[in-house]
Symmetry: C2
Subunit: 217 residues, 2 copies
DNA sequence: TACATATAATACCATACGGTATGATATGAA
DNA sequence: TTCATATCATACCGTATGGTATTATATGTA
């Protein structure tokens, strides 16, 4: 209801707190415990009282570390955005050819996206973007947009080496990324987890389509 | 909490109701009014009292027509699943060549998926699938799976005519469908609606990739 | 040791929700 | 017209929620 924008950011403590080791530890306990609860049952599905019961300690202290329930939630999502794709940004494909590079990216990406933890996270984001619009943006930038950029770099490099015909690298990376992820991710979100064979087969088909297309010349 | 399965389906009236014209009209009023409310603010965001205020009449009567809040919600989602893709199933591409056919499908599909009404519906489905598992299934079957099947039929027909090289038609249709939809749909869900030019460009690129690929032979 | 403050424990508040009970009124079929 | 019943209006119940107030205790620093 309150749409004024003069209020300070929500993911900030309600008042200056003297930082201390015990305090930081407690704050981390609250954050990590609440993370699992929110991932499991969504924002509305978890009450502050339940977080208190689960992490121990007092309700007041939660409201001291995080301004309110929304503040705690936003801090948690911010952390998850950074964590989930962490292993993807360190992949080194510089020594691989086109086929191997794309396959490496695809396997790593699906390995992350099909984890239960990511599925729950994805549900959370989609569901709560209506309530917290900034949240969807942050996820898109740190998720799909980031992984596509990494793939785009590789594609551009392969184009310069003459192994791919010229095109907008980011557009091409997006098409490849989407071919790989959409179907398997959505089915996994409905509880229909693809087998390793299915994953490999999907990747093979997508790489083949990406490199050669389906036209009959 | 109650996980027994002996209860009757939820989208069923709580007791036998003598069907009458006024009753059917009232039931429709409730359904259509509540549809817009749920699309706007989700399941938890809309209270039964608010539906009563909005549609007029009495709370009791809603509980007579639909067993409870969940029953009303499921009836509404079932209706939306059928409505949204209605215009897609009647498309006739039998006289078109590969390029034109794929373009026709892509334009029609995006025309549906990027509507505000569908975006809200999609959010609703993803968010509430955790609470109502059957819901995600029903949507997937009547949505993505259905549109892919229609595209697959066209691809198979073009393969038999020798205009596409042989492949699993449904796999290929899935790849094409996902290239077309994933990125634009997700960005639209975050409020970043693509322009008509962007849509056309994306479709061109995807069709080109589908037919010719990006490899340098 | 002394003092400021972070944490705890607990009771409490206002509000909102889904759902039911009850009694009055409107409607439609016999 | 009669009578069963669909609809309405309203009050109510039990429960849960986010958030605050209060008072006591543990902790770190000077």
């Amino acid at each position: 209801m309150n749409v004024t924008t003069a209020t300070p950011p929500l993911d900030t403590p309600r008042r200056a707190i003297r930082r201390t080791r015990r305090g930081d530890e407690k704050s981390e306990q609250i954050r990590s415990t609440a993370t699992e609860l929110f991932l499991g049952r969504g924002y509305d599905g978890v009450s502050v009282d339940e977080i208190v019961r689960s992490v121990g300690g007092s309700k007041t202290n939660i409201y001291n570390h995080f301004r309110n329930k929304e503040g705690l939630f936003l801090a948690i999502v911010k952390g998850l955005c950074e964590d989930l794709l962490a292993s993807f940004v360190t992949i080194d494909v510089s020594a691989l050819d086109v086929d191997e590079g794309l396959r490496t990216f695809a396997l790593a990406l699906l390995g992350i996206l099909l984890q239960d933890r990511h599925l729950a996270f994805h549900r959370l984001i989609i569901a709560e973007t209506a309530r917290f619009p900034a949240l969807g943006r942050a996820w898109f930038e740190s998720g799909p947009e980031k992984s596509r950029s990494i793939i785009a770099q590789f594609i551009e490099q392969q184009q310069r080496a003459g192994h791919l015909r010229p095109s907008d690298p980011h557009q091409s990376a997006t098409l490849f990324h989407d071919m790989i992820t959409f179907d398997l991710l959505h089915r996994a979100m409905l509880g229909d987890k693809p087998s390793d064979d299915e994953i490999r087969h999907r990747i093979d088909t997508a790489i083949d389509a990406f490199l050669h297309g389906f036209g009959r010349k």
